[in-house]
Subunit: 222 residues, 2 copies
Amino acid sequence: MKPNIKIAADIIIFAITDLTLKILLIKRKYQPFAGLWAIPGGFVEENESLEDAARRELREETGLTDIYLEQLYTFGDPNRDPRGRVISISYFAVVAEAKSVKGGTDAAEAQWFPVSDLPYLAFDHQRIVLYAIERLRNKLEYTTVGFSLLGEKFTLTQLQQVYEAVFNKSLDKRNFRRKVLQLKVLEPLKEWKREGLARPARYYKFSETKFEKLKDKGIFFL
Amino acid sequence: MKPNIKIAADIIIFAITDLTLKILLIKRKYQPFAGLWAIPGGFVEENESLEDAARRELREETGLTDIYLEQLYTFGDPNRDPRGRVISISYFAVVAEAKSVKGGTDAAEAQWFPVSDLPYLAFDHQRIVLYAIERLRNKLEYTTVGFSLLGEKFTLTQLQQVYEAVFNKSLDKRNFRRKVLQLKVLEPLKEWKREGLARPARYYKFSETKFEKLKDKGIFFL
DNA sequence: ACAAAAGTGTTCGATATACACCCATGT
DNA sequence: ACATGGGTGTATATCGAACACTTTTGT
């Protein structure tokens, strides 16, 4: 009936390295837009849910599983792809460290770019990326996505650096610490990060159980 | 290539009547789920943008144009439609009054239902509706969608009733009035609603120009 | 005069912001 | 002892929540 509309799942993958918010882009090997940078993605298979497709692409591009993934928006302008009607269901993912990158089949090359310094992008991907950044910033304020940008354990300074990188502004140390500790979702570890010639910093971890209790009380609304 | 995936645009249409938040449902005439209630929608045409498709469906079902419309979420479970793979791109719309309803071609009947008393719905539409309600509630807090549920001019009491209907709880009159007036987006009219045997209530209108100024200052972030 | 709904201020607690010094460690 | 980053408290402004009476009109 409805002829030949194709569905793509495209993913904006965020990570932080060098105190900078970055996204993963791949250089296109084939037409259209061969040689240009684009966000990773691919077509949705016949019997695959949309999120499964996104996770599959994510695994193919980065080798990562078990990471934060959320549907972003669906872009369906009839002319957004010169090959014909392709509707892009975009997702955004948040990974703990900007590594584990391997080239996929459609990709010549994969590389992390600071969001403040992006190359010219294929298709309407610039728009998608800008929207994803906005969403990430909003979500950082009232959810716990921030923790997904860090590993299992982290210091409060590292956590603050995540917020500073995403918002691209510096925060007051005392106010920041009070605020995150008041959330009561962090568990202090009996472990310290000792590095160089300074006072060791305490490690914390995000406590899923504490978080669930607060959700039940309606403090978070995700 | 990718065979025969169909794209539907489905719309949750909100309105308030009798101090109650309602959505428009249509009774399905044909299989599958013939005789069950469903949210209005239809397939996206070949050369139509997604939002255009949603607006077209909306016009066909209600006769309304120029109303608030926003993409909600894309539901694409492989088994959500027994006829085959149908991906539903859902929108939510907000109209000023629960009238202007005519039956569409696929619909036997159209009717407004209070969100607190919905019938059993076809497909995965229950889930979609619940998600839309949640989104509407969130958006009411930090945007101006609320005004879309009212006509051109309205009294502060009517505005409060909108918020009370959506949140399903009563609000303090003094706090509510102070809060909306502080937003500085309402313009008092030299016109009063005189009705029955009580003191007349002043009409206000939403002032687009005042709103734009505030947006420029970053007070709203929509 | 009274019934009905409109309109109006103040107090209090919680939360956000601004701001500067001491502490623990390695070299 | 000193350089490095970790860690801590207080004062002020702002915002949301609770709460009751007077005003204007029609009958």
